[in-house]
């Protein structure tokens, strides 16, 4: 009886000391305990005289009732101990005993449940960890920090969800529940991870927490960059629709791409917390495929983020279905005719981008077809060369904004100038001409690079519905053969735009990246420095810590930033320290030694200050026949910790021009040293 009374007394004492805040009101519980300072708080509410003590074996003891109340446990006391129920689990504590029964299992606490100053106390770590909390320690303040999530609401989940529905966190489990309707022939059995497959359409949906405050603009730019920067796979595609705005009341962006074998589209919805992304690809067989991807519209229209998750699927199935696909390939895109002359023939037809590629045999003698030269550049970024056969490329575009033919041609001229070093490029003025009986515009661009010449004749024609661009490219030496130009111009004169047979299916990708170079695609940071990558420039190798490569998505310009240390250990194990100047000089020397005849110092080592740090710059060129062809500029600047950075700027002289120099300078200028 005496025990019971003291227990009651203790209970009353504890109740008076209980903080207002507990799990009942918050999802998250943080308890600070400092036995040395005799302080304790529960979710920032201090506990009055918490009666903390450390036992002789170093166990921190806390009031049982304060912990039980903080977690919102049900408690029952008897004269033999206490029974606590939390999250459906019963824990039986026995007074003056270290033995505890949790559910049906036995445990031994490091100290017994005991009265201290009339307060029932329990080992802190054992009790809180048994209630599912995490126990941490702040060595600076001496605080023991208990953190716990409210697990009373959490229930078991079916792990098979993983196999069937992939991201549980993202589907039906997070606060952001979402749903959408799918076509009836959507085969749920093939829902693997976040990918759907239904016949030929593959469809991926993701939702991710927007922890890095990504803006719609960044997503919009990133998808474009992704689609245009995936090398060969997507480079022959056209981003035929680009949208950024709102849809269903949410910020929304959409990019659609098509190429000769596939159509792909990405739709993004943004909420305050989440990024929802839908990506679909359909292999291209015929135009019905293209139309069937419109099913995405149905799916997107059914998109809801407030879905209550009442059924396990979280994905609604309705009766929409795909259209039956045509059996055979039908080309409905032709809107022109041309009659090949001489040896001209159709090489490739990029059906869906409406581009024909034609070529004819070269008239240049075999011996000048330097196979070494071809091999050398085959895998590289080879300059346009007469050693390749003459070609004619015919492309068709719509004109939704009624752009004038002059403005269109001017864009093309600008793009040409932007792509090549003006030193080697000559571009004529835009001139009137005719193709057959149709009035057209024309310009000529010539490249003369180290004796390798090529000519581009570009013709622009607009028939009121469609725009046509004919690009004829050849080595001027071809013109020495009288038949070549005769046949070619005769053929061009047979060009006839014809009636359009199908509905409008797209617009030319206007590559607007250059105008947006100042836009920040993403800000890359590490411990040492950060810089801004211009729009449609890609960054690779980042986070490997020592090497960053920045390159233009479509172009041939790039720069590298690498990181190294000034000290080194030689073979005998001696630590060697160098100055930055020594390191730079050795760099030049080793390059010279490696290739004494082919390397030339274009700009000698020069010291200067880079962003307030000691730095050196030099330029090394490669020479052939006494002429410098390509150069590499190095900027080495000091880090903080006996380390240094090197910015390497290779300049392939053919592609070097003010635009690329300017963009690279922008990247260098944007570097912020930490």
């Amino acid at each position: 009886m005496k025990k019971l009374l003291s227990l009651c007394a203790a209970l009353l004492l504890c109740l008076s000391a209980l903080p207002a805040s507990s799990f009942a009101e918050d999802d998250f519980l943080v308890i600070y305990v400092n036995a040395a300072m005799q302080t304790m708080s529960v979710n920032s509410e201090p506990v009055d005289s918490p009666k903390l003590f450390v036992s002789s074996n170093g166990t921190t003891m806390v009031p049982f009732e304060v912990i039980a109340a903080a977690f919102g446990c049900e408690t029952a006391y008897s004269d033999t101990g206490a029974v606590l129920t939390y999250a459906g689990v019963t824990m039986t504590f026995t007074l003056d005993s270290a033995h505890v029964t949790i559910d049906k299992y036995d445990f031994t606490m490091p100290e017994a449940l005991t009265y201290a100053d009339g307060v029932l106390t329990v080992p802190l770590r054992f009790m809180t960890e048994s209630l599912g909390a995490d126990c941490g320690y702040d060595a600076e303040t001496g605080d023991i920090i208990i953190t716990a999530e409210d697990i009373t609401q959490s229930s078991s989940v079916d792990f098979r969800m993983l196999l069937k529905y992939g991201d549980k966190e993202r589907i039906g489990h997070s606060g952001e529940k979402w749903s959408f309707a799918t076509p009836s022939d959507f085969d749920m059995e093939e829902y693997w991870g976040r990918y759907f497959y239904a016949e030929d359409i593959s469809f991926q949906m993701t939702a991710s927490k927007n922890t890095e405050n990504v803006t719609l603009e960044m997503i919009y730019a990133t998808i474009q960059s992704m689609y245009s920067g995936m090398g060969y796979y997507y480079s022959s595609g056209v981003l035929y629709e680009k949208t950024m705005g709102t849809r269903a009341g949410l910020p929304y962006a959409c990019i659609k791409l098509r190429n000769t074998w596939e159509m792909a589209e990405t739709h993004v919805f943004l909420t305050d917390d989440y990024i929802y992304m839908f990506m679909a690809t359909v292999p291209f067989k015929d135009l019905n495929d293209y139309r069937s991807i419109r099913t995405m519209d149905d799916i997107l229209s059914s998109f809801r983020i407030d879905y209550d998750g009442t059924d396990e699927n979280t994905v609604d199935i309705n009766t929409a279905s795909f259209k039956a696909r045509g059996e055979e390939y039908k080309d409905e895109c032709i809107r022109w005719e041309i009659t090949p002359h001489g040896t001209w023939q159709v090489e490739t037809y990029y059906g869906f981008t409406n581009t024909f590629f034609m070529s004819c045999e070269t008239g240049i003698e075999e011996e000048t077809q330097d196979s070494d030269y071809y091999d050398q550049y085959y895998y590289d970024d080879y300059p346009p060369s007469s050693h390749l056969n003459p070609s004619l490329q015919i492309s068709v575009f719509t004109n939704p904004e009624n752009q004038s033919i002059e403005a269109w041609a001017a864009e093309k001229i600008k793009k040409e100038k932007d792509s090549f070093n003006p030193e080697f490029l000559t571009v004529s003025e835009l001139a009137d001409c005719t193709i057959g009986e149709y009035p057209a515009k024309k310009f000529t661009a010539s490249i003369d690079y180290e004796g390798d010449e090529s000519v581009l004749e570009a013709y622009f024609l607009y028939d009121g519905s469609y725009r046509y661009m004919l690009e004829l490219a050849y080595d001027p030496r071809e013109a020495q053969s009288p038949e070549f130009l005769e046949n070619t111009y005769k053929m061009l004169d047979t060009f006839v735009p014809t009636e359009a047979e199908i509905e409008e299916i797209g617009n030319l990708l206007t590559y607007d990246g250059y105008e947006k170079t100042d836009a920040i695609l993403e800000q890359y940071e590490n411990d040492y420095m950060s810089f801004k990558a211009p729009f449609l420039w890609n960054v690779s190798g980042y986070k490997t810590g020592s090497y960053i490569s920045v390159y233009e998505a479509y172009g041939s310009t790039h720069l590298y930033i690498s990181h190294d240390y000034l000290d080194d250990i030689d073979d005998d194990g001696n630590v060697l320290y160098k100055t930055l100047e020594q390191e730079a000089s050795e760099g030049i020397l080793s390059m010279r030694r490696a290739n004494p005849r082919g390397t030339v110092v274009v700009k000698p080592l020069t010291g200067y200050t880079f962003k307030g740090r000691r730095a050196y710059t030099f330029t090394i060129g490669t020479q052939s026949d006494g002429k410098v062809t390509d150069t590499t500029e190095y900027i080495m600047y000091e880090g903080k910790d006996n380390d240094f950075f090197v910015i390497t700027l290779p300049h392939q002289e053919l592609y070097r021009n003010t635009r690329t120099d300017k963009i690279r300078q922008q990247i260098i200028d944007s570097i912020v040293l930490k």
Partner: protein, 379 residues
């Protein structure tokens, strides 16, 4: 002769009785169950029927009439009766771990499902597993013995020891008991419990023996070698002795040419070391010499060696450099304990924290030098 056999029976059978009772019949408990015997207490000795006790203990008993010998055979019977008990005892503490992993990056990234095993170490939802089981998992589910599953978060991970602690929002879990390190001896029968190969075989068990200890294969610490089959899905599950105590955490089998049925487990003392550090510091605080030490070629081959460790190079903040050791010095002992392999150093360092001072003994040419070294913080 009869008396001797009886003494044996007394030793092997677990019994309890009260000496205060005069005409008292002692009870006999074998492997946790009271067996019906008419045991007698005579002159402070307990006499029990030989066949009854031994058969209850799982042995086969026969009588050789010619030689007048009682033959007791415990071999196969032990496995048949004890192992199921061990599995039943520990299974509630063994969990399956299944998760989604992503391999590759960018457009070539693909997802796959991987699985392993784990052991409950805290009633409040903490589960121990191999680091390599959960390292690449982007979503982790823990499947309990009763089939229920919970999403798990990685709490701590230590790739050096290949151990990780994950946590689920479930309390009231049974905790596995770890064996005394001295109880880990070669030849002991062990059971590996886990989820091998296919996840549908959740909580399956394989039986084998401890075939070696202190085997340093490629790990940072010593490992237990066993012939109990440890498959990829067993990884992170417990290696258990016949008392149902965890002696180690299975790590996936060492695969090499010509090596069969050789598997490894991280011993309980390494597990305790890592768990203790997780609890105290949130990570394993490893002392380091910040130097590259080269083992004698024998040690490299895993053969016992007395060649010491040669200092190959030192970081600029190496405590050996501060203590004026030089490259080429051959370290023979730390705090008086001979060290001949990296694993031995790591094992020794388990008793120290960064900042602690140790005495390092090394040979430099014909000289023996001894210096105090303040251990640095490892990575």
């Amino acid at each position: 002769m009869k008396k001797k056999l009886l003494v044996c029976a007394v030793i092997l059978a677990v019994f309890s009785f009260d000496l205060s009772g005069a005409s008292f019949s002692p009870k006999v408990m074998v492997n946790g169950s009271i067996i019906p015997t008419d045991a007698l207490l005579i002159d402070d000795r307990t006499y029990v029927p030989l066949r009854g006790v031994f058969e209850a203990a799982g042995a086969q008993v026969s009588w050789d009439e010619e030689s007048g010998t009682a033959v007791i055979n415990t071999g196969s019977a032990q496995q048949d009766t004890l192992v199921p008990g061990v599995i039943e005892k520990l299974s509630p503490s063994v969990v399956g771990i299944i998760g989604k992993c992503v391999s590759g990056s960018g457009a070539s990234a693909y997802e796959y499902i991987a699985h392993g095993s784990g052991v409950v170490v805290k009633s409040g939802g903490e589960i121990l597993t191999n680091a390599h089981v959960v390292t690449d998992m982007i979503m982790i589910f823990v499947v309990l013995n009763d089939g229920s599953s919970y999403e798990a978060k990685v709490k701590h991970i230590d790739e050096e020891s290949d151990l990780a602690l994950i946590k689920i929002n479930k309390i009231g879990l049974p905790v596995a008991k770890f064996a005394d390190t001295s109880d880990i001896v070669v030849g002991k029968m062990v059971v590996a419990i886990g989820t091998p190969i296919s996840f549908s075989l959740r909580n399956s068990a394989t039986v084998g023996y401890i075939s070696g200890i202190n085997r340093a294969v490629s790990g940072t610490y010593r490992l237990i070698q066993t012939d109990a089959a440890v498959n990829s899905g067993n990884s992170g599950g417990p290696l258990v002795n016949l008392d149902g105590e965890v002696i180690g955490i299975n790590s996936s089998g060492y695969v090499g040419y010509g090596i069969e049925s050789t598997n490894f487990a991280i011993p309980a003392d390494t597990v305790n070391y890592v768990l203790r550090h997780f609890e105290a510091y949130g990570k394993v605080r490893r002392p380091s010499l910040k130097a590259e030490l080269k083992e004698d070629w024998l040690a490299e081959l895993g053969v016992p060696s007395e060649g010491g460790l040669t200092v190959r190079s030192m970081d600029k903040d190496s405590p050996l450099l501060y203590a004026e050791f030089a490259n080429g010095d051959i370290i023979s002992a730390i705090n008086g304990t001979a060290v001949n392999s990296i694993v031995e150093v790591n094992e020794l360092f388990k008793s120290f924290l960064p900042g602690d001072t140790v005495t390092v003994t090394a040979a430099r040419g014909a000289d023996i030098i001894e210096k105090q070294v303040v251990l640095a913080e490892g990575n």
